[in-house]
Symmetry: C2
Subunit: 363 residues, 2 copies
């Protein structure tokens, strides 16, 4: 077996989820990821955990959902009980075809998700991690050979996460006590927001593997200016290119896109919260050096920032601070590698991708 798969398994079991003896562990994986399941099983055996393995086939999901009457979905009570008794959930993603469920009606999909919501909510309170197996379908989305994509995934995932945590802590120290953030990129992005009183989180690959971002919540009404998201994004199974938003008093008042502008409009119309920002993130995983149409990686890409319209991430908003709420949370990415800067409380903290706490920084 590829030694990188074993290393990935070790990081999942030891770092991201810290599995202990006697833990009940669910490993959910697609058939294509059997190698990683084998390597995880070996680690779980060493630790003395009790694994069960869930066969997560997008082809089977599609067949089931299309054949079902969406009004009839119910949650078997024992699936909730199972999750309650579970200590750790390891979710491995990996596709042989990322469009596999593309012909399932959205209503069916939401009806099933709705039925299973109690299990999902229960899961959120567990130690869990979502990670990626370098499957051919994901390589294809990234326009890479499977071999090259494997190299990309393992570079991003099999890192010294203690070192990464310390690197990112420099940025948390700047952002956590800050009031105002000002982001400029070329002549297309110039946006200001307050993060006053919000919590800045350091993502070093606990819930997501790879990790590699620092993120917080903007004060909902404080956002002003305009931003061009020069990396593409996927919404409702369609690609939005060059999404552009203009904010006034925190809300999007104008928008456009070079492709699928109507889809962007539909997303913004989801609910009131979908017109406001829920997250400001700073990508700091420099082994993610290219865009691959997979948000698990893209949002952590080095030399980028991302803003999410919609729902704020709960642990970044302390009690008593205003929290943006929405059924939507859509991450949108801005390249910061050239002709760009991030200013925090009037001081430039990153210019053209180099941080203030690094060699080569020019303030």
């Amino acid at each position: 077996m590829d030694p990188r798969v074993r290393e990935h398994a070790e990081i999942i079991v030891e770092h991201s989820t810290a599995v202990e003896e006697g833990d009940n562990v669910i490993v959910s994986a697609p058939p294509v990821a059997e190698d990683l399941v084998v390597a995880i099983a070996e680690k779980l055996g060493e630790v003395g955990a009790n694994p069960s393995y869930s066969f997560n086939s997008s082809r089977a999901s599609r067949a089931f959902m299309r054949a079902s009457d969406p009004d009839e979905f119910t949650l078997p009570e024992h699936k909730l009980a199972e999750m309650e008794e579970t200590d750790v959930v390891i979710i491995v993603r990996g596709d042989t075809n990322t469009s596999e469920t593309g012909d399932v009606p959205p209503e069916t999909r939401s009806a099933l998700a709705q039925a299973w919501k109690p299990v999902q909510e229960e899961r959120m309170g567990k130690r869990w991690v979502g990670t990626q197996y370098p499957a051919p379908g994901n390589a294809q989305d990234a326009e890479m050979s499977t071999a090259a994509y494997e190299e990309f995934v393992y570079n991003a995932v099999n890192k010294d996460w203690d070192e990464q945590r310390e690197f990112q802590a420099n940025m948390v120290e700047i952002l956590d006590p800050a009031d105002e953030v000002h982001i400029v990129s070329g002549d297309t992005t110039d946006i200001r927001m307050s993060v006053e009183g919000m919590v800045t989180a350091n993502d070093y690959a606990e819930l997501n593997l790879p990790g590699g971002e620092v993120y917080t919540a903007p004060v909902p009404d404080s956002v002003e200016g305009e931003v061009l998201f020069d990396k593409p994004l996927m919404a409702q199974g369609r690609e939005i290119v060059d999404a552009w938003l203009r904010f006034e008093d925190g809300a999007v008042v104008e928008h456009s896109a070079a492709k699928n502008e109507d889809v962007l409009g539909a997303v913004l119309d989801t609910d009131e919260g979908a017109r406001r920002l829920g997250e400001l993130g700073i990508g700091m995983n420099r082994d993610i050096d290219r865009f691959t149409y997979n948000i698990l990686f893209d949002e952590k890409m080095g030399d980028t920032i991302h803003l999410a319209i919609g729902q704020a991430i709960e642990h970044t908003v302390p009690d008593g601070r205003p929290m943006n709420e929405s059924a939507m949370h859509m991450d949108m990415i801005v390249d910061m590698s050239e002709d760009s800067f991030i200013e925090v409380d009037g001081e430039v903290v990153q210019r053209d991708g180099t941080f203030r706490f690094e060699d080569g920084f020019e303030g």
Copy 2:
């Protein structure tokens, strides 16, 4: 998808397990059998069942078992609860390498089986079926190409089971009220036993798919004579060829084999019940026309009988009749196609593979 896979799924869901709306269904399958899982998922969607899918990887099992301390195996309580709440269990077998767990110490294997015994026992009370996906490892055991093996499997599995049930019922009618059975094949097999008061069962693919046998329990002390099992059998991962047994007062008093005689001896020494017969079966699925080193098929092969040393099958032994008990149940097969007959209460009911109730029978 191969239409034979869909037909297999239909028989599993509609005939073998009779899944109904609202049933909680566990589908356990190896990654190689994804096609069948997809087809089963579709049927379950149509019926309105609640499936969950278990990823049954022999590679992962091996890795887990080898890495584990066998003294530490415990059964998570929720796995038992899950089985209690389950209505139907569908177990799909299929190997890319049938020797995959060959280097797991037998003690580790039994320790894990022991820990999970309550779940297995609970499962036996459910509607369940064990079936086969035509995977390359199983084709290799059968010395067939995967394509030819697929043809073999689907011929054996995708049958009109009502018709097969009626065909077999003829033999049940003969055997169920019978006292003495006498089986002769060439000059190597001549064995007599009583089946007085025992129940004869008709296997038309409920718990096993394929089905295709009629079976009962010999009275333990009644077996007399000798038998040469001229089809090979696997025990403890090794092949026993030309196993020969001589019975007196129901017990094996002499044995030999052309290959791995010591393994046969070890099996007979398992416990007291391992020297007596637990089952007499008559193979009646004529689409199983060759031996494939897979007992799920081999024991139902047309023109064969099989005898199992060890544990009797509970529902063939009525209350008050003597039941053979053992930790072992090993099926052993005799070819009846030539120079052979089965005599029931002094009357020949099968000669050279043709039954009394068929054209061409010569009594």
